[in-house]
């Protein structure tokens, strides 16, 4: 009696709500921490970046225009689906990151909790960062935070799930849309997370996930005129200066990030949400 042969998954990109291969046709082998073959990942190209940015831009109006409550519901739904696939994520994280199943389970739990934390911020951050401005005149002046637009995220290279969730969730919680370049060596949890997003009612294009090299794709994101902000976390230290310089060409918001990948298990604060929000001040006279 022979063991059942498992059905292996082809890992593809997540772009505009669909799972296409890279337009370049390139793939690269992904191995586990011991060097064993896990899968072939799509090796995204600059044209995939271009397509992802245009999908993210197209999705921005709807996602940023949705009610904060609705975004919260959708993001909480992501956490629900994540929770249901804990074992799959634990297995992938263990394989990618070379940690024990117990450790990877804890990482997955933390990732789910992190997502829940950010999901709850959607309809609160405006009241924390916004204000009614006591101006010296007969005007009502108020300030509201609004999402900055399309964010290019170079996800952490080491922490394939918790790190990814920690950098992606704040982007979408604010109402921005994202083009994510996953960890190059550990991309599988990112694609599996994409499946979760696709089944959790996150509109297509809100999150686009490219697997490949941050240092290859980052410059295209940083120089793309339709990208509003860049998170260079996953870029190599050498590449970050170049990214920031390219970003200056269209006055992009560039996140200040620590030189080394931080400990993602630490309690987050709202600084990432803040970076993706623009303060808009509105004035109107008060009169009869």
């Amino acid at each position: 009696m022979s063991d059942r042969v498992s059905v292996a998954k082809t890992y593809k990109l997540y772009l505009d709500g669909k799972f296409p291969r890279s337009e370049s046709g390139r793939t690269y082998p992904v191995t586990d921490s011991a060097g064993g073959f896990l899968a072939n990942a799509s090796h995204a190209s600059r044209k995939d970046v271009r397509d992802a940015v245009s999908a993210a831009r197209k999705a921005f109006g709807g996602w940023s225009g949705a009610t904060a409550y609705n975004r919260g519901q959708v993001l909480y739904r992501v956490a629900e689906v994540l929770e249901g696939r804990r074992e799959q994520f634990a297995a992938e994280v263990a394989a990618c990151e070379g940690v024990s199943t117990a450790e990877s389970s804890a990482i997955v739990d933390a990732a789910v909790d992190r997502w829940v934390w950010y999901a709850g911020w959607t309809d609160k951050i405006a009241s924390v960062l916004g204000a009614a401005n006591p101006v010296a005149g007969p005007y009502f002046s108020f300030t509201v935070p609004e999402p900055t637009g399309v964010v290019g995220v170079l996800a952490p290279q080491s922490s394939s799930l918790l790190g990814l969730v920690s950098v992606l969730a704040p982007v979408v919680a604010t109402g921005c849309t994202a083009v994510v370049v996953s960890s190059a060596e550990r991309p599988l949890p990112a694609i599996t997370l994409s499946e979760v997003l696709a089944t959790a009612d996150v509109p297509g294009g809100v999150v686009n996930v490219l697997t490949g090299r941050a240092d290859e794709l980052g410059p295209w994101l940083a120089s793309h005129a339709d990208v509003n902000a860049i998170d260079p976390t996953g870029a190599s230290r050498e590449a970050r200066v170049d990214l920031a310089q390219r970003a200056s060409n269209t006055v992009k918001r560039v996140l200040t990030v620590p030189a080394d990948e931080p400990d993602w298990t630490r309690r987050p604060d709202i600084s990432r949400l803040r970076r993706y929000l623009e303060a808009k001040t509105v004035w109107h006279p008060k009169g009869t």
Partner: protein
């Protein structure tokens, strides 16, 4: 309801009550903060030297020297008339005022006192200041003034009817008064202090213009607030817009609360810059005032003499 002289669009506006309401409600709104900011900003104009002298003399010539008290007597009116035709006896070059403004029963006294001087006699009428009487009584009031020889009639609109939205009723009343005026010029007092909003001031201004008022006038002086700069801005804009639409020049008269030369200059700046320089004439702009005249005379002396004058040097009314 229609008037003969208005262009077609405006004739349509007065076809019936519904058209009139639609027209007046459809006028662009007036933003309170915006118009008050504009008035305050024009209020900072600095008028000096020759420009100031010219303005003082022009302002004197625009004064409707007014007494509207229950205690008015013929003697008081005669004294006012003397002041009106020669405001500063020591300085015969000081111009006479535009008119003397009195209650209808004293119009005859004023007419007699001012005979041949060129100074007009304005009489308030139409159950001034409240306007709370029947149309018959109001028209009789007008007839009294006109028969006494008043050259100008200052009527009040029925603010109650206006605020109820019975614009047609107010329109008809103004038309009837206009007819009763004959050759006398009609000033339509809209009593801005009771209209509550600038939107209403604009509507009432247009109503007065549509119905044939030669002037639109802010106030009776019996209601606070009386004339204000921003209200006058709205009314000056209305006569400007009326001119642009019809080619007809109509006047504006702020009344009440204008006491100092500084105030008067601010109004003239508004006339100059909101309506236009064509309006800088007593034919098209008046001040309804009493104490203003003496301050203008004092300032006039200061300008001419190069030192400050004092109240004992100008005649009390």
């Amino acid at each position: 309801m229609a008037t003969a002289s208005s262009p077609a669009e405006l004739t349509d506006a007065t076809r019936d009550e519904t058209s009139l309401s639609r027209f007046l409600q459809g006028l662009p709104g007036v933003d309170q903060v915006g118009v008050e900011a504009r008035a305050a900003s024009l209020g900072t104009r600095s008028i000096k030297k020759a420009a100031k002298l010219w303005a003082i003399d022009t302002a004197i010539s625009m004064v409707d020297l007014t007494t509207l008290e229950g205690a008015d007597t013929r003697g008081k009116v005669r004294s006012l008339a003397a002041k009106a035709r020669r405001p500063d006896p020591d300085r015969p070059d000081a111009p006479p005022v535009a008119a003397v403004c009195v209650y209808p029963d004293l119009a005859a006294t004023a007419v007699e006192a001012l005979d041949g001087t060129g100074v007009g006699v304005a009489s308030v009428a139409t159950a001034f200041p409240s306007g709370r009487s029947s149309r018959e009584v109001k028209l009789a009031d007008v007839a009294l003034a006109v028969e006494a020889g008043a050259t100008e009639v200052d009527m009040v609109i029925d603010r109650g009817a206006f605020l109820e939205g019975r614009y047609g009723y107010v329109f008809d009343e103004i038309r009837a008064v206009k007819q009763a005026c004959g050759d006398a010029h009609l000033k339509v007092i809209i009593e801005t202090g009771e209209l509550a909003t600038y939107d209403n001031v604009r509507r009432a201004s247009w109503l007065g213009l549509l119905a044939g008022g030669d002037f639109i006038k802010t106030s009776t002086g019996k209601v606070s607030p009386a004339a204000t700069l921003p209200v006058t801005h709205v009314m000056l804009q209305a006569v400007r817009d009326w001119y642009d639409a019809t080619g007809q020049l109509r006047g504006v008269k702020p009344a009440g609360g204008i006491r100092s030369t500084k105030d008067a200059l601010r109004y003239l700046v508004a006339v100059h810059e909101v309506a236009g320089e064509e309006w800088l004439t007593p034919e098209l702009f008046r001040f309804g005032a009493s104490s203003l005249l003496n301050d203008l005379l004092l300032q006039r002396r200061t300008q001419h003499d190069g030192h400050y004058s004092g109240p004992d040097y100008v005649a009390v009314d």
